[in-house]
């Protein structure tokens, strides 16, 4: 870096002007930057940039360090990536449409709702759905389930998984394709359950520790496409006197989850509780953990009741419109309110992964 300006492979006139301006080492040139260079030496900004690029080429040590860290790509590349990316379907077509195809990978989705409304049900449904083989329109991935509330019931997951396998079997029978039948051999109840990795965290320290260890775990199990944290609010809500510490820990947690979601192309789903905000004359239910936590999730779904109907509202999303849809929780899992129309896809080879032919639901 202490290379003399005179030894750089630049045009002699340029070298003379640099020397006249008083530059002696290459480091000084880099420190000044192109705009400063152009004003001091009296050359145009593009020429100054070229000079700096030459300098960087000649002194590769410094350059390699700064160039490798940027993760930029053009929006076009990102568009191609996003279109090729799959979604995790929820078996409720209205909810899938609401989310634009399903739960997106590399993004954090937050589900808020009052107790008993179906948040854990949806998480369990997603943990099963992420494992659907690719020929049926799924992602053939695995799931990590981090439970802080203890509401994970294995028998219920078994029921949901059995219903999912049955659904795929019906599709395979309707289409009679080679890869469908082959995939069905490996897609069974035992395989679904053995690919759900379950962690029970009892307090926030265990949760923090587990999230620190997750990147290594995900590198070992590279097929994981879904990380569910059921009950991110529970360990942070009680027994926390220092609110600023709580905000700091939550923000750190959110950062790590975003990095993890991007590096391993996984979807992160969090469930949150509701808290009552007491205003002047009325009280409203709002998601818990405060305003600053609201910035952590990319997509926010709020589940609520309307008389006896459960509704899901898309509260925050960068790409979809805000709207509300009804849904049901049946013995088979998460479903639409009415069975969707039967669409037989005659051309079996050309399957858009977002549209799967659905056979009639049996309630």
């Amino acid at each position: 870096m202490q290379r003399d300006v005179g030894t750089l492979p630049l045009a002699p006139a340029l070298r003379a002007r640099l020397a006249a301006a008083g530059f002696q080492t290459a480091q000084e040139l880099l420190d000044t930057g192109p705009c400063g260079l152009s004003t001091e030496v009296g050359i145009s900004k593009e020429e100054a940039l070229e000079v700096l690029q030459v300098v960087r080429q000649e002194c590769p040590g410094e350059a390699a360090r700064t160039a490798g860290l940027s993760r930029r790509c053009t929006a076009l590349e990102l568009l191609e990536q996003e279109q090729a990316q799959g979604f995790i379907i929820t078996f409720c077509s209205a909810l899938d449409n609401l989310l634009g195809g399903g739960v997106q990978l590399t993004k954090i989705t937050e589900i808020c709702g009052a107790p008993g409304i179906g948040k854990t049900q949806l998480c369990m449904q997603l943990a099963v759905d992420v494992q659907i083989p690719e020929c049926f329109g799924g992602l053939a991935g695995e799931a990590v389930f981090i439970d802080t509330e203890g509401s994970f019931m294995v028998d219920r997951v078994a029921d949901i998984a059995a219903a999912c396998v049955q659904h795929c079997q019906l599709i395979a029978e309707a289409h009679q394709e080679e890869d469908h039948l082959k995939a069905l051999e490996t897609f069974s109840l035992e395989s679904i359950l053995s690919h759900i990795y379950y962690f029970r965290c009892r307090d926030y320290i265990e949760l923090l520790a587990q999230v620190y260890l997750l990147p290594d775990f995900l590198s070992e199990h590279s097929k994981v496409r879904l990380v569910v944290i059921d009950g991110i609010a529970f360990p942070f809500r009680h027994d926390f006197e220092d609110l600023s510490l709580r905000t700091r820990l939550l923000n750190g947690l959110a950062q790590q989850l975003i990095i993890m979601a991007n590096d391993h192309k996984a979807a992160v789903v969090l469930t949150n509780q509701m808290t009552t905000r007491i205003g002047q004359s009325q009280s409203t239910l709002v998601p818990a953990l405060g305003e600053s936590w609201g910035h952590a999730a990319t997509v926010r779904l709020i589940f609520h009741w309307d008389n006896n109907q459960r509704l899901a509202t898309l509260y925050k999303s960068p790409s979809q419109k805000e709207s509300t849809i009804p849904y049901h929780v049946t013995p088979h899992g998460f479903r639409d309110v009415q069975p969707p129309a039967v669409t037989q896809n005659t051309d079996g080879t050309e399957m858009n992964p977002r549209k799967r032919p659905r056979s009639e639901e049996e309630k």
Partner: protein, 253 residues
């Protein structure tokens, strides 16, 4: 788990001493700091601090199990998965009965029979496994002083006359139901905290708290400022303790 000392997390003794000078002795203190603060305190490089974090996290993090393993465990011991309530309709709706290992809440307007239900469940829990019980002791935390031992005996005799035919059996049943009368929130919490050792020593298989709402309503007036947070703190603390007990010992609460 959080209060685990760093020494036991396999960190080197000099490092522990150095952290101790900054008042960082437990895993909780260590994990609550950001990476930069940790670098400053330990005087080590970024990658080394990350490795330390992994080591400490390994000491605290829960074990992994797949859903399949859990299912297999439950399938192997089906009687230990539920406590049947002996009401067929209720058992069907609950998929087998009151689930072991989790909290079940019973609510209703006054006079519907909650305390009666609790008394019956206590009788059921003391029955041997062959009759659908859990063959264990019961801890009954009573906050309303509504538990009547005579009613307990009456239920036992009329429901299972064949089993409780001798006084001896009745006595052993009543001896295995441990009743605690707590009248304030603080004492309820203290009692719950002390339950862990009692469960192991007395082979308890069921915990009943009758009722949570009465003691909370008596003490915390929601109109006073600050009481709401105290109340939710108390409830949350109690709930997490009970959940821990339920899961650790696989018993219904």
């Amino acid at each position: 788990m959080a209060a685990k000392k760093l020494r036991r997390a396999k960190l080197s003794p000099e490092l522990c001493e150095r952290l101790g000078r900054h008042q960082i002795t437990t895993c909780q203190d260590f994990l609550c700091l950001s990476l930069l603060e940790l670098m400053k305190v330990t005087g080590q490089s970024y990658s080394n601090v990350q490795k330390l974090l992994c080591k400490v996290s390994l000491a605290c993090a829960p074990k992994m199990q797949t859903a399949y393993e859990m299912k297999v465990r439950r399938a192997v011991n089906p009687s230990s998965a539920f406590l049947s309530t002996s009401l067929h309709g209720l058992d069907k709706v609950l998929h087998g009965g009151v689930p072991c290992g989790s909290l079940t809440e019973l609510t209703s307007p006054p006079g519907c029979g909650k305390t009666q239900f609790c008394i019956m469940m206590s009788v059921l829990a003391t029955l041997p496994v062959s009759m659908g019980g859990l063959d264990g002791a019961v801890i009954y935390i009573d906050t309303e002083s509504a538990f009547s031992a005579e009613r307990l005996v009456e239920i036992a005799e009329s429901r299972f006359p064949a089993y409780f035919d001798s006084d001896e059996k009745l006595f052993s049943m009543t001896r295995s139901i441990h009743l605690y009368r707590e009248l304030t929130c603080g004492s309820v919490l203290k009692r719950i905290k002390s339950l862990e050792e009692e469960i192991i020593s007395k082979k308890v298989k069921l915990i009943i708290i009758d009722s949570v709402a009465s003691v909370v309503r008596k003490e915390f007036d929601p109109k006073l400022q600050g009481n709401l947070t105290e109340r939710s703190n108390f409830l949350a603390k109690g709930a997490s303790l009970l959940k821990y007990l339920a899961e650790e010992f696989s018993i219904p609460v």
